[in-house]
């Protein structure tokens, strides 16, 4: 007899779970269906199959610029966030005074309402006379992504036996060398997944970007604008399908890759 749930209970929970999953995916599926629908309005009955909306999307220069801007900001801010995240996580491995405050500060961007952060940066840049640009947006996204990188990196670093580093140090390796030859290879999977998470955080971020991007149009800013013009709806739906599919592939791939890599590391490493 199972102590947590009766057989009927398990059946009910299972039905409920799959019902919720269906409801979660239904809106995405509806977008997929209507992206091929030959009509300006997303209405039943379906009026025929077309690839017109995907063709429009391929020829929309404004959209391409927005996607490129977002991609560049995402890559730059992720590099920045991962760099800061690695430094901070290494520091957090040691014990030092004020550590609790330090980690609270590093994680606090997770809980600040994005609108408040966006506005504080807007006021700050305005007051010190820095024009809003690509750079201000990248700076903002680094702040937002740092906590995520730390949440991925710290648990990984904690699993690593510090005797490995001590051995390297005893054998005369410098700190940098120890990091490069011992720690870095061991935390590389975590670095990659931190990087991917930072990419998605930045690529999808609208609230803060709307305040600090200045005249730059990122992909979410473009989408937000397009959502206000019904005539562009079908094309946006096609874009939505492409972007959602791509991000699902990246996310699921990253997760499977991480599990695979960490599974392998677990085998060769004392835990």
């Amino acid at each position: 007899m199972d102590v947590a749930v009766s057989r009927n209970g398990a059946r009910i929970l299972r039905v409920f779970f799959f019902l919720v999953v269906v409801l979660l995916y239904a809106p995405i599926l509806i977008l997929l269906i209507f992206s091929f629908n030959d009509s300006d309005l997303p209405t039943f009955p379906l009026s025929g199959f077309t690839l017109e909306w995907y063709r429009q999307f391929l020829h929309d220069g404004e959209l391409h610029t927005a996607l490129r801007t977002s991609a560049i900001v995402a890559v730059l801010s992720s590099i920045g966030a991962v760099t800061l995240g690695v430094l901070a996580s290494l520091a957090l491995r040691r014990r030092f005074k004020g550590m609790a405050a330090f980690s609270a500060l590093l994680l606090s961007p997770l809980v600040i309402p994005y609108i408040v952060f966006g506005i504080s940066l807007l006021l700050f840049f305005h007051s010190v006379g820095v024009g809003l640009s690509f750079a201000t947006l990248t700076i903002a996204h680094i702040v937002l992504s740092v906590p995520y990188t730390i949440l991925v990196l710290v648990p990984r670093l904690e699993q690593i036996d510090s005797s490995l580093e001590e051995a390297a140090r005893d054998l005369g390796a410098t700190r940098l060398r120890t990091f490069r030859s011992i720690l870095l290879p061991l935390i590389l999977p975590a670095i990659v997944s931190a990087f991917l998470i930072a990419l998605t955080v930045s690529f999808d971020e609208y609230a803060v970007a709307s305040f600090v991007a200045g005249s730059q149009t990122t992909f979410p800013i473009y989408l937000y604008g397009a959502l206000r013009f019904p005539s562009r709806l079908p094309e946006v739906i096609a874009v939505a399908v492409v972007v959602m599919t791509a991000s699902l592939i990246v996310v699921v791939g990253a997760e499977l890759g991480r599990r695979h890599a960490e599974g392998r590391l677990g085998e060769i490493e004392p835990s």
Binding site: F16, P27, F102, P113, F117, I119, L151, A167, P270
Partner: protein, 302 residues
Amino acid sequence: MTTGTGDGLPAAPARPRRRHDLTTPVLLGLPLGWLIVFFVVPICFVGAYSVGVLSLFPGAHHLTFTTWHDFLHGSVYLTLFWRSVRMSLIVSVLVVLFAYPLAYFLALSGTKRKYVLLLVLIAPFLTSYLLRVLAWKVILGSNGVLNSLLFWTGLRSPDHPISQLLYSKFAVMLVLGYVWLPFVALPIFVSLESLDRRLLEAASDLGASRWQSFRKITLPLSLPGVAAAFMFVFIPTVGEFVTPSLVGGVTGYMYGNQISDLFGAGLDWQTGSVLSLFLLFVVAGLTLVFSRFLQIGRVTTG
């Protein structure tokens, strides 16, 4: 690389660790500096704007608390704030109530491939936020999927579409619930997953029914996860302005929209700063109260 490098070797005399290690400040410096300059200092600027020390307009800089006073004493803004809190509370509670059985199913019903199913559940959360909102705009619109489906199947006459679907408080709450549900199952799953099943077995041996063990053991032990889940929805939704501006219309207008409007069209940065800071104080206070439940690190490693 082999395992247990240190174990097999004769114990070398441990090199005394230098107490004053220069490396820690070097590692700390950059992240700490970045967060202070681009996170803490900007918030201080909001404070300065809120009391008039800094101003959008030249020549009007003097310390004044009238904006704070007006805000706190029966302003429409405060009313709007409580309205948003109420909406956000309803969404958070409902979402947690929905997520609990999902997490329970994954963690405790002995289902195979629970991590795959967990990923299936959470994956929608990891796709674009705006696009998930867009999906509901397409579905709920008066010329949208749901209404046209009702006309087509003859369940409703085209002369009487359900017009309150989109651009309403209901739409905002539905979309926010939809957007956050997958993510919220995660902290609850982690707390249920770490539950020691032997406790339930012991309870069962002592004659407790499943319902009694649930009430006396499972539920209390999973409360930290529930609290974390609640905060994970409540904090971002209470200051939300993107979803209400896309699907909220007039009745779905939230506090976040007010802030955004004060900085955008309204150009009243002082009032906007007061509203922002107030929101920040409330959220920070809640976070402190709940922080012993949050245990962010544990939640993500699960």
